[in-house]
Amino acid sequence: MRLDTLSFHVVESVMKLSECRSGDIVLITEIDSHVSGTLRLRELGVLEGVDLKVIKSSNPMLLHVNESRIALDRELAAAISVNYMVSASGNQTC
């Protein structure tokens, strides 16, 4: 990664999971625990430090987390902040 893309990277880090596109691989950085349903997601393994792949960015979204395929409302996905690892267009950012 070139240094001049770093600032871009910081901007990207406030990305919401609901904004991701199909094929994106992202790392979860933060989850808003006040949103109902997030505790269940944590129990299912959707929590900070976990990487996941967005299989479908439709509503509901379909995620590949660990070995499970978990579907969830976009609205709920908006409570999850993520960092890009691989974007759908293919360029690695971290």
Binding site: S33, I55, D73
Partner: protein, 739 residues
């Protein structure tokens, strides 16, 4: 080999008479398959999460000991979000009232989803009960290139791990042995940590609860974790004196100290799980590599194609119910007719012969003829359930269900409602929001259960022409498909009406797991189809038979012998004055007049005439009225009742085929009773009316009140009447061709 004699003495002394074993684990990990393999029972197995919704127990004996196995609903966490998870928690925490605690827990771990499965497993093992781990689906994990090493897993968990593949009975005997060995051996604590401050608060709370309710130390601790950390909590121990206040205070203190207490359990457990996984699973494939299921899902979960495919699948299903069942139905029809005439020719005429031929044989035969169609319907349902497609349908339907105030979760009960409303209503236990669940319960009885299928099939078969449309589809198949779509639409609209009025409330988030597609096991398929077929035949041979006998009596008596004499003299007159075709016609007319008059004078006929004014505006005559009254006992009874109604008092030996009788049935003024419009209206009536006592009873049980079953009966009856009234009245005005 281990027998009870081989056990060390002190352990033998502690062996209870019957050893109680609970099967727990995440949903869809193969618990019930394992239960069936252990006990030889045949509980329902399918490839979607949330199949088992109540505790079921079975017994097997091994090495001279009796072992009771309890199959529990799957749970993602010991902190429940719905009623099925609550059952599992209550059994594990010993909160089931008088029930004694279990001796051994068998935790099922799906090798293909180890991380997520270990979360609940660690919660269960933390209870300290003697535990055994059954590692399921490792066959599948291995074929995907990432098998789990049971030996390493055993070292991490400190409990015996047995690899099982229950569908092929692999590891079952081994598991039985290990269960026996585990009795009385409490497990050690797992080395994960929740954080010092939270742990401190938990211990404080546990000490306080312990003062009011003495419990085993580790169970007490789990109760405290639930009370302290789970804001969704539904544990009644919060009502112990002073506990609610203490929980509030401890949470505030943690908050003040900047501790993320809500997150602490998941973070702590998953951190430890990660370290376990690294050493127990070989990963030969790259991470996030799309599986075969993912490739299929690209199409099947597509918002447009997915829905289109679902509709095409349904159309094929309902068309094949006509096309494929036909020959078998003809066979059953032939058998019925043959046995009726065999009885008729070998017995002297009289009431007993009439009862046997018209009441029993043609009545029961009229229902049994639909067995092939029922079997096909169940075959399709079980294929959808066991392949994993059902969860995809729920996924695709979620956005549509939202508009009606429901979520995709409600789609599964609605589709299972095509089989029978009773298990479908029970499966709403998987819906976490109580209002959404109630709205679903109210709507499910409208979905078209298999008991309605004979009625539809009779009406469609008799009155809708089999005009080919395209590619093997006919109008009959489409009308049947239409009936099912109509029932789903009605159910959705009713759910919406409830959600907009008495059951108003915020939408709950939708989270669902999609299991991998699996080739349906032929054992599951055969078993499920066989069970259903058997139930249908048993029902026909018991309840329907009994009702038929009663019906035949009330349709036959009082038997006016002077009528016979009156018509006989008219026949004599006709024979004297007419000949050839004219005579034939006149005799037939006299036959039908005589049977009509006899039925009219019978008890059943009088009952039908009492309600005739009410149902006449719907296009139904008093004979249909008899069928409608009888169908409140069970929907299929409508079919057998009509067979009796059109046969009783029939002067000749052979009973006419029911469909022919329906086509030829005429009013007194010579007009046909049945038109396509009347047939459709009967179908609509059967979709909407509440004619099933079993459903009423299960709604009473699930809602624990009389209010909701009464609401259900009330709204369904009103809806059925009004809809049929409007449909028929508009129909005769605007489509006189159909009337």
């Amino acid at each position: 080999m281990l027998t009870s004699q081989d056990l060390p003495d002190q352990q033998k002394g502690t062996l209870p008479r019957t050893i109680r074993v609970a099967l727990v684990g995440n949903p869809n990990t193969g618990k019930t398959t394992l239960f069936n393999a252990l006990t030889g029972l045949k509980q329902k197995v399918a490839n979607y999460p949330g199949v088992t919704v109540e505790r079921k127990s079975g017994i097997f004996s091994f090495e001279g000991l009796q072992i009771e196995v309890i199959d529990l609903p799957g749970a993602y966490s010991l902190r429940p979000t719905n009623d099925v998870e609550r059952i599992t928690r209550d059994v594990l925490l010993g909160m089931m009232g008088s029930e004694q605690p279990v001796d051994v827990v068998v935790v099922c771990l799906d090798a293909g989803n180890l991380e997520r499965n270990l979360y609940f497993a660690t919660q269960v093992l933390d209870l300290g009960l003697p535990g055994v781990v059954a590692l399921t689906m490792n066959d599948e994990a291995a074929s995907m290139g990432q098998p789990v090493d049971p030996v390493v897993l055993e070292q991490h968990l400190g409990r015996p791990v047995v690899e099982t593949v229950a569908p092929t009975y692999k590891g079952i005997t081994e598991l039985k042995k290990v269960i026996l060995q585990a009795v009385g051996r409490e497990g050690e604590d797992l080395p994960w940590s929740i954080g010092e401050k939270v742990l401190h608060a938990i211990e404080h709370l546990a000490a306080e609860i312990g003062k009011h309710k003495p419990m085993e130390r580790r169970i007490l601790r789990q109760v405290s974790v639930e009370l302290l950390l789970d804001r969704r909590g539904t544990n009644r121990m919060i009502d112990l004196p002073g506990i609610r206040e203490l929980v509030g205070k401890l949470r505030a203190e943690l908050e003040w100290a900047g501790v993320k207490w809500v997150e602490s359990e998941s973070i702590g457990r998953y951190a430890w799980i990660k370290s376990v996984i690294e050493t127990t699973r070989v990963r030969s494939e790259e991470k996030f590599k799309p599986s075969r299921s993912d490739k299929v899902d690209r199409v099947l979960t597509h918002p447009v194609f997915g829905l289109a495919i679902f509709l095409v699948v349904m159309a094929v299903v309902f068309q094949s119910i006509y096309t494929w069942a036909g020959p078998f139905m003809d066979m059953i029809d032939g058998l019925t007719a043959a046995s009726a005439s065999a009885v008729a020719s070998s017995m002297p005429s009289g009431p007993l012969r009439d009862l046997l031929t018209d009441g029993i044989i043609s009545g029961v035969g009229a229902v049994l003829i639909f067995l092939p169609q029922i079997i096909l319907l169940f075959l399709f349902i079980v294929l959808m359930e066991d392949s994993g497609y059902l969860s995809r349908a729920a996924f695709v339907m979620n956005r549509h269900m939202r508009r009606f105030g429901l979520t995709g979760h409600a789609f599964i009960p609605m589709l299972s409602g095509f089989a029978c409303a009773i298990p479908a209503i029970m499966s709403t236990r998987n819906i976490s929001d109580p209002r959404t669940r109630l709205a679903t319960i109210m709507a499910v009885p409208l979905t078209s259960c298999s008991a309605r299928l004979p009625v539809y099939a009779l009406m469609i078969g008799a009155l809708i022409p089999a005009t080919p449309l395209f590619a093997g589809f006919t109008t009959q198949g489409f009308v049947l498909l239409g009936a099912y779509i109509f029932s789903i639409c009605a159910a959705l609209l009713v759910a919406r009406a409830f959600r907009m009025t008495v059951l108003k409330g915020r939408q709950q988030p939708f989270i669902i797991e999609l299991p991998p597609y699996r080739v349906p096991s032929w054992k599951t398929v055969l078993n499920s189809v066989w069970e259903r077929g058997r139930m249908f035949v048993t029902q026909a041979g018991t309840i329907i038979l009994a009702i038929n006998i009663i019906l035949w009596f009330i349709a036959y008596f009082p038997h006016d012998n002077s009528l016979q004499a009156k018509y006989d003299s008219q026949r004599g007159a006709a024979q004297a004055s007419l000949s050839g075709d004219e005579l034939e016609l006149r005799l037939e007319e006299l036959d039908s007049l005589q049977s009509g008059e006899m039925l009219r004078g019978s008890i059943a006929g009088k009952l039908g005439q009492v309600i005739e004014p009410v149902i006449e505006p719907l296009g139904f005559d008093w004979k249909i009225g008899i069928g409608l009254l009888a169908s409140f006992a069970a929907r299929e009874v409508f079919v057998s009742t009509m067979a009796i109604v059109y046969n009783v008092g029939e002067a000749d030996e052979t009973s006419v085929s029911l469909m022919d009788a329906i086509r030829n049935e005429k009013h007194a003024d010579g007009q046909r009773v049945y038109s396509p419009l009347v047939a459709l209206n009967i179908i609509i009536f059967f979709i909407l009316a509440c004619q099933c006592m079993g459903t009423v009873a299960v709604v009473k049980r699930e809602t624990n009140s009389w209010k909701w079953p009464l609401v259900m009966v009330g709204y369904m009856t009103a809806l059925a009447y009004v809809t049929c009234l409007v449909f028929y009245q508009l129909g005769i005005r605007f489509f006189p061709g159909l009337a």
